[in-house]
Amino acid sequence: MSARDGLDGEDWQRLVLATADAIDEQAAELSRLDAAGGDGDHGVNVATAMGHARRETTDLDDPTPAAVLSVTARAFLDEMGGAAGALFGSFFRAVGRSFNGHTAIDAAQLADALEAGTETVISRGKAEPGDKTMVDALVPAAAAGRAAAEADSSIVDALGRIATAAREGASSTSTMTPSIGRARYSEDRSLGVQDPGATTVALILEAWAAASDDRSKS
């Protein structure tokens, strides 16, 4: 199977491992972003969750795409905790559920999954675009996924466009002021600084794009 046809369970394992590496590398930066408006622990939190996801994913006997995402979801829900853990966990769980029954994920299935994940995050967390949260990266990412699917893109191309949209979404949060979730620690200081959760979304999707791309080249 080539990347044109979709990413199978082993591919998703690789994507998750690549994500864990990317998060480890950026953890300090993510915490730094969180220190501006939050409590400065976001990088530690996500790295903890992704560390577990790395181990659990590797241990899977039957790594279907759904199973890999489900295990990742559990790592966020159980090991990260907090609002962010619940939301990232819900996101991955919805993505995994959407992958259910598919041995390989193509651009259309990915678009469905991202939409499902984004909707869950919004309905659970009640944040709207512009509230300076992970939603500001997820919404454009999901839209890019849908557009790529409609343009019949390969999964690799789709992920590339999704990652770019997520990154732009994350960047856009730096001019926003927070208005959701746990009351902020010092509102003023976060102006000009990206939202850490949105940045994590971008990092994840960039890692997915890069790792899927690697595969197509290999």
Partner: protein, 342 residues
Amino acid sequence: MRTAKLINDPADIVSEMLEGYAAAYPDIVRLDDGLIVRTEPKAEGKVGLVIGNGSGHEPAMIGWVGPGLFDVNVPGPIFTAPGPSKLVKGVTAADRGAGVLICVSHHAGDLLNAEMALEEAADEGIDNVEMAVLWDDVGSAPRGREQERRGSAGLFFVWKILGAYAETGATLSECKAMAEQVRDNTRTLSASLTSSAHPVTRQPIGEIPDGEMIIGVGVHGESGTGTIPVPTADETVDLMLEHILDDLPYESDDEVCVLINNAGALTVMELAILNRRTSQILAERDIRVHRSWLGSYATTQDSAGFAISLCRVDEETKRLYDAPAVGAGVQFTPPGDSTVDQ
């Protein structure tokens, strides 16, 4: 502000804390797969009480497990609510056949995870689980928008009264109603003179220069408002108590319990001086004090801050409040029951 902590690997901070705490109080609590549970379980047929919360507020809530208090505490990472499966595990551990109430101190993460836990419990066929969402912090949302308020130190009163109530054999829905009733009679406002460092990242949470104070801080150091030069103790209480009293409002002939909670590094000396003014003002307003407590019950690491909490009580809640209770972090001995003759 101190950033160095007496810990080992920051990644082990919560698990090692739980181990060390349970080791100190084996007759009260034991550590069971990451949960703090009562050593002597509650009698069968009574409602189990569970609370999940981020760690870092000790003795809350690991110190509030025991007879007359919680059955199970589900500790999360530092300042981070535990996930849904761990909460469900806590529910199972607390179940004595009469249902389980999950108490939620109102914060985004606690609420989200409790909601997900209820879904997960339902999926697993565990019913007879309810949650009570609790708030008290007048600094976090204005009057009329009480349900947006955060949970803070004043939930002390809910924990205590609810804990005693569950021991009487009240039903699950009665317990939930009692928790909400006490919540609706409770108001808290907090202030802080220093911020604290996150124990894992060692980064300061917020910034308060020496000589400045913030009124309205949250239990994780959250604050929207700016600093003011530290007023006198009396001025501080005057400012804060006016806000609290007008909110419910507490009126003459009301009877209240008082808590002056230490957020961590305030001295007992300061708490007592703050209580002096508090009791003066309450006396001036003809508000009777049933009992007062000064101490570190819910902390924000080592912030030098405090909260003033009032809870309006009636005959039933007074009786429940005075009932004996034994947690590792809080003991209630009924007045008059203090004979020591052997």
